[in-house]
Symmetry: C2
Subunit: 396 residues, 2 copies
């Protein structure tokens, strides 16, 4: 298998993905046993790009899987190879932090359909052509299947904890539902058991913006040496508004003007909030693939854990041995607290061991990525308790 | 003046505008005394398109001005000349309705910058070329100035009531602040005294979507015989989400599929909410001008009544003789109740006569256009009281 990893074809990868792969680990899986996707397609071989922090202990009991959100990736706690920014969960992961690599073997895997090394529409098919829109539509369950396959490959039988926010939280729920025996504890943050109509609507706007861009070329922009930059930028701008609370935008920007003393009476960015959004849109294009954005938003839209279990969410967790700790944020309007409550109710109905904290925060959905002391304290306590039951040493 | 109206140049008008003008009244104003806009430009002559219902009484005391929202127009209570749909406020205006043309002389004026007959970027300049992006950026105060000029032209000294929702509510507030002696009663619905950072952000996304469309041609699409249909459609889709509540979307669509029994594993509209949004986007293009959309969203962004009065909102209403009745809706997240409360506080500080009702509704911002019995009952009572004070007859 190691040989196969080394021989993974790097040709045709986008620059960003090349940089990512040069800085993380990866495995080529499914060559012998292809992955059967929810859509019915069999995929294999496929590449899984991942990053690890810390060391797996002798009894393999300290593995923590971090599941990333829509546009994040495996570079959890280090400088990003493309943007040069700090790790997206540096606040939580690192020496002395709640998830300390001195104690845990921390793994984060770029999701299936992604663009940071794991196989997605950016990858090449057997004939050496980019998949683009011929890549099969994947689901959150498919993402989790590739993660389980990687753990098999790495010889990790089970996980001390699976943790993630937003789409990462959906993966956590899917892990607990699909592989209960492999999940000792689960921490779904700022997520839902199914994507709401409003959330599908916002994703659809983003996809339409990308597909409306003539540079998208029906998904074949790479062959045409174009980038649907404007469409992808508009998609990101729309999504970005949903990640912040109205209060956060008001506090951060209000009606403050950008580099001017008076209204410009034109269509330049008069207001700071416009300038900020334009910047968010334009920088996103440098680090994310437009087709990947289509696929991953689609996977989130398709997520409906109850539907996959006879329409009853509690069935997804029947007899679960997993210990759960859920978090939501008061000002998160993308995944409001009631969505977490529905999961808690289902877990209670399944007689699961579950804690739930609604964290007071005015930062909106993005709060899960920020320094939220109440969440960190509660999470540390939860992990300490779980570690004691698991018999994990060195967790204070 | 009547001659000027008849001679108004119809050349070069878009089809939709031509149809609109054929079905409503219009006046050409400002030929002798141009309108000085907030941006400093003097505009004139300019055309004002409007519709009226009912008859002005002998003492000219029964005039009601309805101010329309962003993409609405003067066709309040009749079949729309372009879409063929019923009037947008048919529920409120008509025989036996709260605003009955048998009692009131009802006027609605297409806003400055609009595309249903009033001068905007669609109109031709003195040289016969479409204004497009050379049209001056207008404000809500400019819109109100043209409305006051039309009333002068029609010989209507003052208004029994000025009423409107959303951007229409902004105009109502501006009327009360700028022409207090001409406004006997004012009904601002589902609006704010200044556009919030989040609202500016959503508008900016819409504008960027339009301007990203290569068919927009820097605003000169008419000369190129193109239409930035995809950009305008994405803009409308984004805005449309903000007009509905999360609950309304969930109730109306949830995760119901469109014309299929199972997920399609593709990027067609799997979900009804996607199909609905796409329809909203595509039909909008047939009735609204993309440049107008840029101008009118900009006017809303610029609206900040306190800023125009030394930073103190109460100053805008100092000594006001107007009777106010405000409405907000519990599930309106575009103009939430707290925005209306701020106006009420300012009116109280100015010792104004003010009523305020927060209507329980799960329909979101769009509730102001729908059949909301609590609002209608309260409004009827308010108007009855105002009519009694005014000495208006025939208001039961």
């Amino acid at each position: 298998m190691e040989a196969a990893i080394e021989e993974a074809p790097f040709d045709g990868l986008a620059d960003a993905e090349r940089k990512a792969l040069a800085r993380c680990r990866h495995a080529v899986l499914g060559a012998d046993r292809p992955l059967r996707l929810d859509c019915g397609v069999e995929l294999g071989p496929y590449r899984v790009a991942y990053q690890t922090y810390g060391t797996l202990n002798a009894d393999k009991s300290n593995a923590v899987l971090i599941c990333h959100a829509l546009t994040l990736d495996q570079f959890v706690a280090e400088e990003h190879p493309v943007t040069g920014k700090e790790g997206w969960w540096d606040s939580l992961v690192g020496p002395g932090k709640v998830l300390d690599p001195a104690r845990y073997f921390i793994i984060c895997i770029n999701v299936l359909g992604g663009c940071m090394g794991t196989t997605g529409p950016l990858a090449l098919d057997a004939s050496g052509q980019p998949w683009n829109l011929r890549f099969p539509v994947v689901t959150v369950a498919d993402m989790v299947r590739t993660q389980a396959a990687l753990l098999d490959h790495l010889g990790i039988p089970d996980l001390f904890c699976v943790i993630g926010g937003s789409m990462g939280g959906m993966q956590v729920l899917e892990w607990a539902a699909s592989y209960p025996a492999r999940v000792f504890s689960a921490v779904p943050i700022a997520c839902a058991a199914r994507h709401s109509a409003q959330n599908i609507a916002f994703h659809e706007v983003g996809r339409q913006a990308i597909m409306a861009d003539p540079e998208w070329k029906g998904g074949d922009y790479r062959q045409h040496n174009t980038v649907p930059a404007r469409g992808l930028s508009v998609a990101r701008m729309t999504a970005h508004i949903t990640y912040l609370s109205e209060q956060a935008l008001q506090r951060k920007f209000g009606r403050a003007l950008q580099d001017r003393d008076a209204l410009g009476f034109g269509f330049d960015a008069d207001f700071q909030v416009e300038s900020y959004l334009r910047y968010q849109g334009s920088t996103f294009v440098d680090r994310f693939d437009a087709n990947s954005y289509l696929y991953i938003t689609r996977a989130m839209d398709y997520f409906d854990l109850a539907a996959a279990h006879g329409g009853v969410l509690a069935n997804a967790f029947k007899g679960t041995p997993t210990r759960f700790c859920l978090f939501s944020f008061t000002s998160d309007w993308l995944f409001p607290t009631r969505e977490s409550r529905e999961i808690v109710h289902a877990l209670n109905a399944a007689a699961a061991n579950v804690s739930f904290v609604e964290v007071e925060s005015d930062k909106g959905h993005d709060a899960f990525l920020l320094d939220e002391p109440e969440m960190f304290r509660t999470l540390a306590g939860f992990l300490k308790g779980a570690a004691a039951v698991r018999g994990l040493k060195d967790v204070p």
